[in-house]
């Protein structure tokens, strides 16, 4: 098998791996965000953005070329280890993306739990009309 063909197979495998992770996470992420914000549309939007970031960072990680020769045929053992290296960088990208999404959800969660400043001051900031 040529190195380019093996590399493209590895890239397609990283796309598939990222897609499987997105499918696994999307439903529970949307449920969690809906519970946080009580708005299904807003939760679906940010769940879609987070899922796409996971997919794209996984694909970006899967572009690692460590171990591959530039061109020509590649032996089984060298191809195996090159593809293992490519999968390792895919998993690194996916781990980074998951960490970022989890960090963002944790920050949103902490902000939504914290009482708003207006409530601490007796709701004075909510008064907007000139007659009030």
């Amino acid at each position: 098998m040529t190195a380019v063909a093996l590399y493209l197979v590895g890239a397609a495998a990283s796309v598939l791996l990222s897609w499987l992770l997105v499918r696994l996470l999307r439903g529970s992420l949307a449920d969690l965000l809906t519970e946080l914000w009580q708005s299904r549309a807003r939760a679906a939007f940010w769940a879609a953005v987070g899922s796409t970031a996971i997919l794209l960072l996984g694909v970006f990680g899967g572009t690692g070329t460590g171990g591959y020769p530039a061109s020509g045929d590649v032996s089984f053992s060298r191809g195996f280890f090159a593809m293992a290296s490519q999968m390792r960088s895919t998993l690194g990208g996916l781990f980074l993306a998951l960490f970022m999404v989890a960090f963002a959800v944790a920050m949103f969660s902490m902000n939504s739990d914290r009482p708003r400043r207006g409530h601490l001051r007796g709701g004075a900031e909510d008064v907007t009309g000139p007659e009030a």
Partner: protein, 143 residues
């Protein structure tokens, strides 16, 4: 017309890289479309505007990824590695496609955050005004 071994490998790299980039773009659009539309309607306060911006974003993403990959293939090589060919050129194609798509996603995120900050808190929680009516129609009902 017959291609030499090196030429056929380059063509295979181009077609394979384009296929992977297009597949990734299609998957990204498949994830984005159902989730993004309802909230864009709320952010734009108009269902037609939300539909327009949603479609524009997805079509741009679908076009940008393969176009970025193709542009990277036509470049003579990386600045750091001018002799890029074969696997290195395929990697450049996929990286260009992924970076472009991440840039589009980042732009969508910033625009959404900007418009969310302008929404009243109650509209944000309840999903905003009823979508499906244009701004002028709502104005007519109000009058």
């Amino acid at each position: 017309m017959t291609l030499t071994g090196a030429e056929s490998e380059e063509v295979f790299t181009l077609l394979g890289g384009l296929a992977v980039a297009l597949g990734t773009a299609a998957l990204a659009a498949h994830v984005l479309v159902p989730g993004v539309r309802p909230h864009l309607d709320v952010l734009c306060r108009d269902a037609r505007l939300g539909r327009f911006w949603g479609r524009l974003f997805v079509v741009s993403l679908l076009l940008a990824m393969p176009l970025g990959a193709a542009a990277a293939w036509f470049m003579p090589g990386d600045i750091l590695r001018p002799e890029a060919e074969g696997v290195r050129r395929g990697a450049l194609m996929l990286r260009a496609a992924a970076v472009l798509a991440l840039g589009f996603l980042w732009a969508l995120l910033l625009v959404a955050l900007h418009f969310e900050a302008r929404l009243p808190r109650v509209a944000r929680r309840d999903g905003g005004e009823a979508p499906g009516r244009s701004r002028s129609e709502r104005g007519a009902v109000g009058r």
